[in-house]
């Protein structure tokens, strides 16, 4: 917490800090009322940290993840990613950052139903402008990393829930992003499969990947090194877990 308080607007964060948010707010103008989903969130996440974000429903977890994932822009406050201030970037620059710096895993997998696993994993590389050959190599490698080397030509509906989520993880990893973001990655999976997916996350983290995930479940959060709890759009607690 002390780092964040020392940080002032206009400073450049330390090199090892990957995510730094400063008094981030996000409001939704619903006409009749103003929904304040985030009300000044300041967090700092270092390279190779494994962070779980918890909190009751509606506390702003997804809103925060979307901001960190550059899918959304804050109403006010600052967001620095990898030393670059991204909170006031334009659309196309955000798209480039999503493509290069961020791997996002969704609760509902979000795979293209008509495309096979390999093509789904290749998608980010298409937008990175990579050639078909190197795309394929990278996608095959990513699928092998999540243990799906033998399911590459399967369509999503030919895969189990856990396998689909692995495809989604492979897709998130394929661009070698600075951070892996996951919003309730096990929310649609049974407990056995959830444990498997947590195994994958743990392995990625051991290989040096920075991971931030949202979860409702205590035993899922137990896989992380640090737990940030949100309540009513602000950080309630931020604790390192005993390893």
């Amino acid at each position: 917490m002390s780092n964040v308080q020392l940080f002032r607007t206009g400073d450049t964060p330390l090199p090892d800090v990957i995510i730094l948010t400063h008094k981030l707010t996000r409001e939704y103008d619903m006409g009749s009322e103003l929904v304040r989903a985030l009300r000044g969130v300041s967090v700092q996440i270092q390279r190779n940290e494994y962070v779980a974000v918890m909190g009751p429903s509606g506390s702003g977890k997804s809103t925060l993840m979307n901001l960190i994932g550059c899918l959304d822009t804050p109403t006010s406050g600052e967001y620095w990613l990898n030393g670059q201030k991204v909170s006031d970037l334009a659309d196309d620059e955000l798209a480039r950052i999503r493509n290069k710096e961020i791997g996002f895993v969704f609760q509902t997998f979000n795979l293209l139903p008509r495309a096979d696993a390999l093509h789904n994993v290749e998608l980010p590389l298409i937008y990175a402008g990579m050639s078909a050959k190197s795309r394929r190599e990278r996608a095959v490698h990513a699928l092998e990393r999540v243990g799906l080397g033998n399911r590459m030509d399967h369509k999503p509906n030919e895969l189990s829930g856990g396998q689909r989520q692995r495809v989604a993880i492979a897709r998130a990893l394929v661009n070698e992003p600075s951070i892996l973001l996951a919003d309730e990655p096990t929310g649609n999976l049974d407990s056995t499969t959830s444990t498997e997916i947590m195994g994958v996350f743990g392995e990625l983290h051991r290989q040096g990947q920075t991971v931030v995930m949202v979860t409702h479940e205590q035993d899922i959060a137990a896989h992380a090194e640090r737990v940030i709890t949100l309540r009513d759009g602000v950080v309630a607690t931020d604790q390192a877990r005993a390893a």
């Binding site: 899918l71 798209a95 999503r98 493509n99 290069k100 979000n110 293209l112």
Partner: protein, 412 residues
């Protein structure tokens, strides 16, 4: 996303939704097919008119002195009646022009009517009997297949000899040799001395159903009153000399008819330009009606494509959101959907071109209209196809491009 990736993606999507894509390219298909077919007809007939038709009916560098034009489109009754009141062309007119022209030309007299020709108990009906002088064959470029044409001497003496068109020879003699046989024309026996080469047909009219006899032979009474001609044919060596000959002939005729300077000609000096003008009138109709059909079906086709694409954008909102979340920029999404609408439209155009060419071949096979595909129309079809796809694809594609990733992803 590079351009070819967008095209590849579009082809994939179209392949996975064959029915929908097939439906959406229908309008462009119809538009381009009718464009190609109509253009082919106009193009083919046009070529035919300017090359074959005009030359067959008139001959090259040839003009005809007539009471009224041979071809006329949309002539009011009053004009028609005025033409019928004009004096006829007389043998003496033809002789005066022959004597008066200083340009080297060849000339022929010509009068025609429909008659029956018989041989034994066989009869050929509705045969065009032409009473003409001997150079008629040269001017009309009628080659002789067997036998010979009649001579100047036979013409002047009014010898009862006949040269048959191929169809008449076939009808009366089947495969036997007609030379030397005696056929009856208007009850008068004529000796067959030649058969003209196969002429084919023109716009469905057979060109081989005729008999040519000397202008002064007995059958002259069947075609015109005594001393009267339908036409006096004059063939010069070049276009320039033909024009000079026309102006000389005009002077001679005007003075023979005692026309004052203010008075109009009461005869015509008709050239193949007349036929071409007649055709131009018809093709102008094609040229004004067809673009209407083409434009209407292309606009309908474009609107269909636009609607299908709007539906596609709505259906695939999640996909768009996902692509954006994975790093697709606005231009990537715009390009993806624009490529899709353009490829659909181009496919419609391609099928349309195929169908148009098919129609052209069919028209050639089953109708007398000569049609030939114009490369310009194919190029035009391709450009119109691409144009429709782009113009009507821009709005749906820009809607897709503007979607916000989170809102799009959240949609069910």
């Amino acid at each position: 996303m590079p351009f070819y990736e967008a095209i590849r993606l579009a082809l994939q999507t179209i392949r996975s939704q064959k029915l929908k894509s097939g439906f959406s390219l229908l309008g462009v298909f119809v538009g381009v097919a009718s464009l190609i077919a109509a253009w082919s007809i106009a193009n083919g007939v046009n070529r035919y008119m300017t090359e074959k038709f005009a030359q067959t009916l008139y001959g090259v560098n040839t003009f005809q002195l007539r009471r009224q034009p041979m071809f006329n489109a949309n002539v009011p009754d009053s004009v028609w009646r005025a033409w019928r009141r004009r004096p006829r062309i007389r043998f003496s007119d033809a002789e005066a022009i022959s004597a008066g022209l200083t340009i080297p030309v060849i000339t022929a007299w010509q009068s025609s009517d429909q008659v029956s020709v018989t041989y034994g108990n066989k009869e050929a009906r509705d045969i065009e009997l032409t009473a003409a002088s001997e150079r008629y064959f040269d001017i009309k470029n009628l080659g002789i297949a067997v036998g010979r044409p009649f001579t100047g001497e036979e013409n002047r003496s009014g010898a009862p000899v006949a040269v048959l068109g191929e169809a008449v020879a076939k009808r009366l003699f089947s495969d036997r040799n007609p030379l030397g046989k005696s056929v009856r024309i208007g009850g008068v026996p004529y000796r067959v001395i030649g058969v003209v080469e196969h002429q084919g047909s023109i716009l469905g009219f057979p060109l081989d159903r005729f008999v040519v006899v000397p202008a002064l032979s007995p059958a002259q009474n069947l075609v015109n009153p005594p001393g009267i001609l339908d036409a006096f044919l004059v063939k010069a060596r070049s276009d320039l000399e033909m024009r000079e000959a026309i102006s000389q002939a005009e002077g001679i005729m005007r003075s023979r008819r005692h026309l004052r300077p203010k008075q109009d000609n009461n005869f015509v000096l008709d050239t193949s330009e007349g036929v071409q003008r007649f055709w131009a009138g018809i093709s102008r109709i094609l040229v004004t009606v067809i673009p209407g059909i083409v434009i209407v079906s292309l606009v309908i086709g474009g609107i269909v494509i636009m609607n299908i694409m709007l539906m596609a954008v709505a259906e695939r909102t999640r996909e768009i959101g996902l692509r954006k979340s994975l790093g697709a920029r606005r231009t990537d999404v715009l390009r993806q959907f624009l490529a899709e609408s353009t490829v659909i439209s181009l496919l419609g155009a391609a099928f349309g071109i195929g169908a148009g060419i098919g129609l052209t071949i069919l028209i050639n096979a089953v109708s007398p209209l000569p049609a030939s595909v114009s490369p310009t129309s194919v190029l035009m079809g391709v450009m119109l196809g691409a144009g429709v796809g782009i113009v009507f694809g821009v709005y749906p594609a820009s809607r897709a491009a503007r979607l916000d990733p989170i809102t799009a992803l959240r949609q069910e």
